[in-house]
Structures are given as C-alpha cells and as structure tokens.
Symmetry: C2
C-alpha cells in the first residue's frame, strides 16, 4: 500500500498528519522565540480530554522558566542533555502525582470507593500513576506539536535527584524532561528507521 | 482565557481538535461496520513516527479477528468488559516486546553498544519497554481517532492470564486491551471532569 493511499484512509488531512507525526521531529536546538503561558495553557486544555484509566489523570507538569530553576534542573541532566536543556526557551519536568487518587471523588464520581481502594495499595497506585502518566506524556507530545512547537523529550537524567530537588513531598515522580520551542538550526539528527507493520502486528 | 481564544493558539484546526481530543470519547458500544486491515495499517504507519527513548519502539499489537481468538480473550477480561469486548468489530491486545533491544542495531545504529548494554539488565529493560510502550499507547489512541474510529481502551483484565494464553514465550507483556470501531447506540457514559490547568501545572 502506498503512503498516498494510506493517507486517504485517515480522516486527518495530510498537512495535519505531517504536523503531528510524519514531519514532526524531536528537536535538539531551538530559536529564542518564547513559549507563552497562553500557549501551554492551550496545549493542556486540549490534551486533558484524552482518556486515562479510571479518569485518573496522574500527569503533572512543572514548567521551568526562571534562570535559577533551570540551573537546578540542568545539574541533574545527563551530560549530553545539559546544553540543550540550558538553552531551550521552555523546559517541562513531566511527572506524576502518586496521590492522584485524592481527586477520584470528583473525577470518577460514580465509583465512590475507588479512592479508598487505592489508598491502601501504594505499590499498585504508583504503578498505575506511572503507566497512565506515560500514556498522557504521549498525548502531551502530540499536543505540543499541535501548537506548532517542537518537543524534545529526554529520559537521560538522575530521576532520584530531580525528585528530591523539586518534589520534596516524596509523592511526585519525574517521568521525562521535555524541551519545548521552535526548532533552531540543525535541530535534528537524521531520522532513525521505524519497525514495519509486519514486525509489530500479529493478527489472530 | 476562553476556549475560542485557546483554539486559535493551536495550529491544529478546530475540527481536528474535536476529532482527536475534545469530542472524541471512549466508546463502550460499536456498530457492526468492520475495521479493515488497510485501516489498521494506515493507523500504524502514522503513529510509528512518534518518538520513543532510544527509538526503542517496544509496542506490539495483536489484533483479534477470529471468533476463536476472541473467545479466548474474553475469558480473561473483567466481568464489566466481557460483553463489549465480545461485540466490538475489532479488538487489539496492546503489548510490549521486552526483547525490543534486539532491534536496536537497526533502529538506533549510532549507538552500537546499546543492545548489549540492555541485554544484561532485565529489570531496567522491562521497565523501559513498559514505559515507552505506554507512551506509544497514547499515540495509538490518537491514531485510531485520526482514522475516524473510536477507541475503547481497557485496563480491567487478568494480565498474567493473557500473557500466558497469547504470548507463550514470556517476552511479551500486555499493557491494555482496546476495542476499535464506529461508536454504536449509547456509546458513552457522561463525560467525567478533567483537572484544571492550575491543579496540574506549576511554574518555577
């Protein structure tokens, strides 16, 4: 099947397919153009509608805007991620609130016992937070692209140190650090290959 | 900030915002209209481009099409998920391949030691598979919606039983089961509230 035919099988128009998936790339350099509060609010207010298990919504975001906070973050990034994190117009610490269940009486009202069921099960609740938070990280990356911005998600950092430095309460756990902005010069590496449909999909 | 202003801050047009996020809903009933092989290939060939750490791409999908396979799956779904899984036009077992690192010499060629580094670290590799697979599940749900279909992702099933029943090699782990199709009558429950921007976001 050619790409042209495949594109027609989707309701999403070709330009939007490019914007969100085909042409969008993980950026490693950014221009100086700021990312505004209004833009990040628009991104959140779009992606918040995507689903999570039990409407749990464990994702939290700490936007690093001040020079002092950025310095504290860069100190805990892996060597290869320090320079780009220092230079990005905006950086998001993407984390989960492992006490997300406190909101369930409001966010999942038809199951009044859901909160109590999870409060005694720390291991299960933390796993649920991390799993659903990762799904929401996927939505967030799509949302950043939907605003015409590039995302630079990174997994290379000292997670324990970031948790201690920024989330003193022990209830928040970092999942990823994401640089956000307009792509700068030489923003990306050559694109790496993706697995083929037949390598990923089985039909039974 | 009103929704109208927020929509204008995104590059994504309002109809597409609705298609992917604002109006899209988790479906619990479906019409009989089939979901074709071409459609699922188009969905995969769109979402495969979204990023994963080290281009690891651990997500795998087992599409359940035969009546016999569906019966084997339904047996391991929680009571409340049995009927809708039995009736959906297509159901996907969304899983990860914890041996995803075998592909790294091809998919992440500039780090020739990446495969060996992960092969001796089962715990780290499985965590990496599950984390990146969950991010990809987020992309997949957006991709299903991009095809004009509704997704019904479910976490209520016996994971260990599904792994044993369908993935005898011990290397694949189910993350979610997702019904896919056109929404049927009374397809959704009333929408539950989302957390506000100020409940989720901190700026430092």
């Amino acid at each position: 099947m050619t790409v042209a035919i495949e594109r027609d099988l989707l309701l999403l128009d070709a330009a939007t397919q490019d914007l969100l998936f085909r042409e969008a790339r993980t950026a490693n350099t950014f221009t100086d153009e700021p990312v505004t509060e209004d833009q990040v609010q628009a991104i959140y207010d779009l992606v918040k509608w995507a689903p999570t298990a039990m409407n749990s919504q464990p994702l939290r975001i700490t936007f690093v805007r001040s020079a002092a906070a950025r310095e504290r973050l860069v100190a805990h990034m892996n060597e290869g991620n320090k320079a780009k994190t220092a230079a990005a117009p905006l950086t998001a610490i993407v984390e989960v609130d492992t006490d997300f269940h406190e909101h369930l009486p409001t966010t999942f009202p038809h199951a009044p016992n859901a909160k109590d069921g999870l409060s005694g099960n720390d291991t299960g609740r933390i796993a649920m937070a991390r799993f659903n938070g990762a799904i929401q990280l996927g939505y967030l990356i799509v949302g950043i692209r939907a605003a015409g911005l590039a995302a630079g998600p990174m997994a290379g950092f000292d997670a324990e140190a970031i948790n201690k430095e920024f989330f003193g309460d022990g209830k928040h756990q970092v999942l990823a650090v994401v640089n956000i902005g307009k792509p700068g010069p030489d923003a990306w590496f050559p694109r790496n290959p993706r697995l083929d449909f037949d390598q990923v999909v089985t039909t039974i």
